[in-house]
Amino acid sequence: MKRLREHYGDTPLHLLAHLAALALAGFAVLQLVGSRAVGNIALWFLGAVILHDFLLLPFYAGIDRVGSRLARSVRAVNYLRVPLALSALLLLVYFPVILSRSTSTLDGVSGAQHSGFLGRWLLVTAALFVVSAVLYVVRGRRAAA
């Protein structure tokens, strides 16, 4: 046991748990190998994490850092940061309908008209900034009083 710890670097449970998990994951990957467009699955599997870790996260963290530096006060930062983050989150999740990437497919299968997503997203974005601005002014007055 002590030797395992020395050579492996952690507890036996750590090793057993990982071997079990990797074997189960291996089963799933093996089933996928014969399925349609397995290369495309691999591309999405790796692409998704690369897009997040090396593009999305540095992008929003960078904007946040620059924005924080430009802001007049620490107090002001969050009144900009929060509505911007919420609006960006909606766009991140729903960009296929907001930017009409998939609305024609939806129209085709459902027979209903899918429109107005971009407009509604802009209205909600406007509302978020209005609420934030009102809170900024009201709380600023209260702090000054």
Binding site: H18, I41, A61, Q113, R120
Partner: protein
Amino acid sequence: MNLARLFPATAPPGPFRPGFFKSPLRGPWLTAILGSLLLVAMTIVALTGFLSHAAYMPDLGRNAIVPAGADLPLTFGWPLHPSWLYALNQGLHVTLGIIVIPLVLAKLWSVIPRLFAWPPVATPAMAIERLAIGLLVSSAVFQLATGVADAQNYYLFKFNFVVAHYYGAIVFVASMAVHVIVKMPVVLRAYSERGVLAPLRDDLAHTVPEPRDEDGLVAAEPAAPSITRRGLLGLVGAGSGLLLVATAGQTIGGPLRRLAFLAPRAEQPGSGPNAFQVNKTAMGAGIKPKMTGADYRLTVGLGNRTQAFSREDLLGMPQRTETLPIACVEGWSTTQTWTGVPLAELARVAGATGARAVLVESLQPAGILNQATLSRDQFSDDRALLALKVNGADLSLDHGYPARIIVPALPGVHNTKWVKALTFESKA
């Protein structure tokens, strides 16, 4: 075994250097609280996902989309009570899967310094753990991205969504389980040292970095805080809340449907008794007018014996009215009042009350979902209908005229539309 020798002792410049990541909020407690919330949410999302797989009854007929016998042996007879069971299951799966996204983003943000740990591996244990973490993050982002894309019918991918999402879920569950086992002691230590909720009470003046940790989450050269920890969690919560409002109405219906401002299937098509969501139009399914005209006959068979019924014949049989939901795998649902012949009555007419299952085939010429097999429990339930009318009017062509299946708690697409044949499978 010291693998650190494989790498230069000094970290390359950039994110590998201590001091690169500045946020004073990162630390074991923040990651623990985000991880704990995520554990609860993801467990429900994963569980409802596997339940949905079981609800398709992949062991029957040609129901399996994931190749038969190549799935986990976790399927069972899907219950028929309550009738909104599948609507609830899918509403939870899709809505929770969407509102969990800000939490996932925050969790990944909180541990990003670990991606750039130096040396990248020091022991075999660290190597195998990093492999498992790689699978966890990849599968989590893959599952969320493909699920969100599919719910919006955004088919940027070339693979079969069901197959990839099913096996992706297995990779996710395996890697999440091992991650929870390995990290639970770190989580419990963070809670015992800092308290479970105590750090949420700190205002900005008291928002100081946690003590330096061995995992290197805590910034070596922290910047001054610009948001509190409760502020960050509040932002995550607000994001989830906003996504909930934007989405949930397509499942819950009623006045909330109008509130679901970004849900892809919240639109109410037209007006009248047939004005509710269509999964696939007759035109999209390749249904031609002459298929459903006066020459239409429903074939009901058991073995070699078959009988044919016109729509008038079916309207002359005992009728029953039931209020039942259609719930799509994509998360939207709609409850309507259906009238038609009980499937149990058709089984009786066919002399097939003891049949093991019934194969339902559609006039729809192509597609893997132009047929579905129902179990005996399903076709013998009193509320299971071959519906001819909805809300008192004839079914519209888009809703399956001349006749469609409607069974309680059945996944939406298995409520086959434009039914042309019911073939009962005898016991043997």
